[in-house]
């Protein structure tokens, strides 16, 4: 019987929604028994929260003062220490999981399946390649452990009606001190999180300046939406890096995505393919964004956006 261990992502005593999505992915493996491991300096609250996820049988707490920051080189040996008896180890394909899971895979002597978007069987998965221009079906060897990251935008969170057992384990592995956390410069948390917001409004290079990007924030606030951006807007310094949507930014799946002054380069589109409805506002009727938009409006954003904001306020 498949036994899946999920490495939880969390911060400030709260689970990141990516963990519930990994559980949903693992639940697609027939007959899987699902456990979650929490590495923390104080895992109690996170463990209690994760124990309510439907489908999870057991939550394993690993408390260690060296886990106060998520350092892959420190966490990987601890994950490996609890993998005995598991057929699968999953983590989210967020920057947390992308950093940690390949390190775990290497220590276990296997390649990783990156970005699972669909489970076909216990050792068969679909994943995107070439910036989402192709989808490949992969098969992992049946005689070795499967280490994978889950493309979180492909899954809806597992519901919270479960009741898992919780136990704590101690691990005496010698943990490295060669990597030291100095500082986290986190963006403001005033708006809905880009990765979980039901509506996202994004702006591109066309905004032209940090000041003009205010138009995007105002429209987003009127809609209760999260805010994203194209790489060009981030590179130009209009907005911080954590707002980038796309192949090398965040992959998101909101119910409604509004792309404003964004041309629709393939690297951007791969980040929004799973959105429910895509709206494009662009002055160039030939822009590639219109090939994927459900609703398109050709025109100047500097007149359209304030009008739209008024209409929805």
């Amino acid at each position: 019987m498949p036994k899946v261990l999920i490495v939880a992502e969390h911060a400030d005593g709260k689970a990141n929604p990516s963990t519930a999505k990994c559980v949903a992915c693992a639940s697609a493996i027939p007959d899987a028994e699902i456990h979650v491991v929490v590495l923390s300096d104080d895992s109690e609250n996170v463990a209690n929260e994760l124990a309510t996820l439907a489908g999870v049988a057991r939550v394993i707490r690993v408390d260690n003062s060296q886990n106060s920051n998520t350092i892959a080189a420190v966490q990987a040996p601890q994950v490996v220490a609890v993998t005995d008896g598991y057929s699968h180890v999953f983590g989210p394909s967020t920057t947390f999981g992308k950093d940690l899971m390949p390190r775990v895979a290497a220590l276990l002597g296997v390649n990783q399946v990156s970005d699972i978007m669909e489970v076909l069987g216990s050792h068969s998965f679909k994943r995107p390649v070439y910036a989402g221009n192709a989808v490949v079906t992969v098969e992992t060897p049946s005689d070795s452990i499967v280490v994978a990251t889950v493309r979180v935008a492909s899954y809806r969170s597992a519901p919270n009606d479960g009741d898992a057992t919780i136990d704590a384990v101690t691990i005496d592995a010698e943990l490295p001190v060669h990597t030291r956390f100095l500082e986290l410069q986190a963006g403001s948390a005033d708006r809905p999180d880009l990765q979980t917001a039901a509506t996202v409004v994004s702006g591109g290079r066309a905004l032209g300046s940090t000041e003009s990007f205010d138009l995007i924030y105002k429209l987003a606030d009127a809609l209760g939406a999260g805010v994203g951006a194209s790489r060009a807007a981030v590179d130009a310094g209009y907005v911080p890096n954590e707002m980038q949507v796309g192949q090398t930014g965040k992959i998101i799946a909101p119910d409604l995505y509004i792309a404003i002054g964004i041309s629709g380069a393939i690297q951007h589109l791969t980040g929004i393919k799973d959105a429910g409805t895509i709206v494009a506002i662009n002055k160039d009727g030939e822009a590639p964004i219109f090939e994927v938009a459900d609703i398109g409006l050709v025109g100047d954003l500097f007149t359209i956006v304030p009008e739209l904001q008024d209409a929805v306020s």
Partner: protein, 249 residues
Amino acid sequence: MDKILVGLKRVVDYNVRVRVRSDGSGVETDGVKMSINPFDEIALEEALRIKERGDASEVIVVSIGGNDSQQQLRTGLAMGADRAILVDSGETRDPLTYARVFLALIERENPGLVILGKQAIDDDNSQTGQMLAALWDRPQATFASKLEVNGDKATVTREVDVGLEIVEIDLPAVVTVDLRMNEPRYVKLPDIMKAKKKPLDTIDIAELNIEQAPAIKEVNFEPPSDREKGVLVDDVAGLVAALKDKGLL
């Protein structure tokens, strides 16, 4: 520091509209423009800048793949790398093998820093750097947008989901770079001529005695599911009506 090792992977150029072969065996690469993986180019630029600041004495570019990767290594030499190593890996192309190859080269070259791209834009795996750091038992600083070398330490700014994380690492270490680290220089014609004289060694992967990694089989490629073409509206009123229609307002 003495040496910096940089990986250069040959990939389909990022401007190419990739098409899946009709038999599902892969994507079309015949007659398609191939380039250095864009992240790797940024990795090389960073290594060259470290050397130009006097913090390293030699930059070695490495490619693992077929003979055709010589082209990307020559471009790397023209950008300013001192020498190149091609590891001919035949049909074997997986991140764990790449990591094991880099480890074998590290044992020969003893670099102070290995700089790689954070992912390759063909398989989008994002694994090799982290795997190498694990096998080498050294620090990894992934998704880096800033790298400052100070003696036997480095301070690295990482682009993470919530913002920027700054870490200090002991050297030697592996750094994988994100897009905003720098803008790679353009190669000038005289540099291309000079690069022809720089050393490019080819090593057969068999010489490195790499343990074979359990392979993940790629059984079928398919195009992504298409989104249906939508409608154009004439004005804001039309947009609002269309959104209301879908229950989104």
